[in-house]
């Protein structure tokens, strides 16, 4: 069945989904799925929890979509919901999901074995450092690095001033920089 022309645009899809069209909502989910999964995975640091958080985020977005004003950015609105859903999932996670999911991750086989091992160690160290950041700083870092949002957009999503966005990002990146530097020093010592 032919859809109205507006169905192709995000605004048209939003309108249809607001009227209860699940197919239109499915298309909206498809458009924002990758970004949301990336954001919640980095927030949760665990693939299983991240899937729960993504499910919860899109569910909340569906329930609250009628109140969404189409003049705003749907992506930013969903990211905001996703960040909150991830934090809620983290707060309610059972203890047994705390295991390190990086344990089973294999290094990139395309690179040389030594380079691949170093890269894996650095990536693991960074991921652990991201997980260890305070929630507020982690949310800003994730939205910037993985959501690709501008400072102004992050400020809107998290409802904090731009100055706060800058200071939280400074803290988060400097923390990761320290982790990466010490990781590199250890590796240099090991390989010396």
């Amino acid at each position: 069945m032919a859809q109205p022309q507006t169905a192709d645009t995000e605004t048209g899809l939003i309108e249809q989904a607001q009227h209860g069209d699940r197919n239109a909502y499915g298309e909206l989910v498809r458009r924002h799925y990758q970004g949301v999964v990336l954001v919640v995975t980095r927030m949760c640091g665990d693939a299983g929890l991240a899937e729960d958080a993504a499910q919860e985020a899109f569910m909340r977005a569906w329930v609250n979509l009628p109140s969404f004003q189409p003049r705003g950015s749907l992506r930013n609105w969903i990211y905001r919901i996703a960040i909150n859903a991830a934090l809620d999932v983290l707060r309610h996670k059972p203890e047994e999901t705390l295991e390190d999911e990086q344990a089973g991750r294999m290094p990139d086989q395309g690179a040389g074995p030594e380079t691949a091992l170093i890269e894996k160690e650095q990536a693991d160290a960074l991921q652990q450092a991201v997980k260890s950041l305070p929630e507020a700083a982690r949310a800003v870092l994730v939205l910037r690095e993985f959501g690709g949002l501008s400072y102004r957009e992050i400020s809107g999503v998290l409802d904090v001033p731009i100055g706060t966005v800058m200071s939280r990002l400074n803290y988060a990146r400097n923390r990761l920089r320290e982790v990466l530097s010490s990781e590199m020093e250890i590796m240099e010592m090991n390989h010396a």
């Binding site: 699940r22 799925y33 569910m59 609250n64 109140s67 705003g72 960074l126 991921q127 400072y151």
Partner: protein
């Protein structure tokens, strides 16, 4: 200066600086090896994070099909927030005007009564006449005849009784207005609560 510029390194890295700030930090980076090194380290952190391919999203199709199956029904599709009718605002405005009117009437009444008691109205007080009489005084006059009005103590009691009566009637009116205002506030709150929440509250 160095610390101030250092705090802006991330904003510079993210392309968030413009104008004077941008020129200042670019000039600073030419001369400050420490900041330049830190900028490169921050850039490396950002690159490492963004090129980390360890995040493998589950299949979008499977996710969407599961999600659409479990989406709850929405009983009221697309309820648009209703704008508040101007009639809503007429209620408190009317109550306020009523309160002002009652206050004015009672203040004027008190002033006229006080002026009458002190004799300031002179012969003009005659038109006030029986309006100043309480029910008990009317009964007493009927019982004892018109001469009772000549008794100053009785007149004073009558005036006190009229003032007290006016005082309480005034308070009753004000209480009624306050109750109506609370009822309006309650109705407004209930109506506001039933409306769909805004974007920022929805999450």
């Amino acid at each position: 200066m160095h610390e101030e510029m250092r705090a802006l390194l991330n904003a510079y890295l993210d392309g968030e600086l413009q104008g004077r700030r941008l020129r200042e930090i670019e000039a600073h980076l030419v001369s400050c090896a420490e900041c330049k090194k830190e900028l490169e380290e921050l850039r490396l952190v950002s690159q490492k994070l963004q090129t980390d391919t360890s995040v493998e999203a589950p299949s979008a199709e499977r996710f969407i099909s599961q999600l659409t199956l479990s989406l709850p029904r929405r009983s009221q599709p697309n309820p648009q927030p209703k704008s508040i009718s101007p009639a809503w605002w007429l209620v408190p405005a009317g109550l306020l005007m009523g309160w002002v009117f009652i206050q004015t009437v009672y203040t004027l009444t008190d002033l006229v009564t006080a002026a009458n008691l002190t004799g300031l109205l002179g012969s003009a007080s005659r038109w006030l006449g029986s309006g100043q009489e309480s029910a008990w005084l009317g009964a007493a006059v009927t019982l004892f005849g018109g001469q009772i009005l000549a008794q100053p103590a009785i007149s004073l009691l009558n005036n006190v009784s009229v003032s007290v009566s006016n005082f309480f009637i005034g308070y009753i009116w004000q209480a009624v207005i306050v109750l109506l205002y609370w009822a309006w506030l309650g109705a407004w709150w209930l109506r506001h609560k039933r409306q769909p929440k805004n974007m920022e509250n929805a999450v």
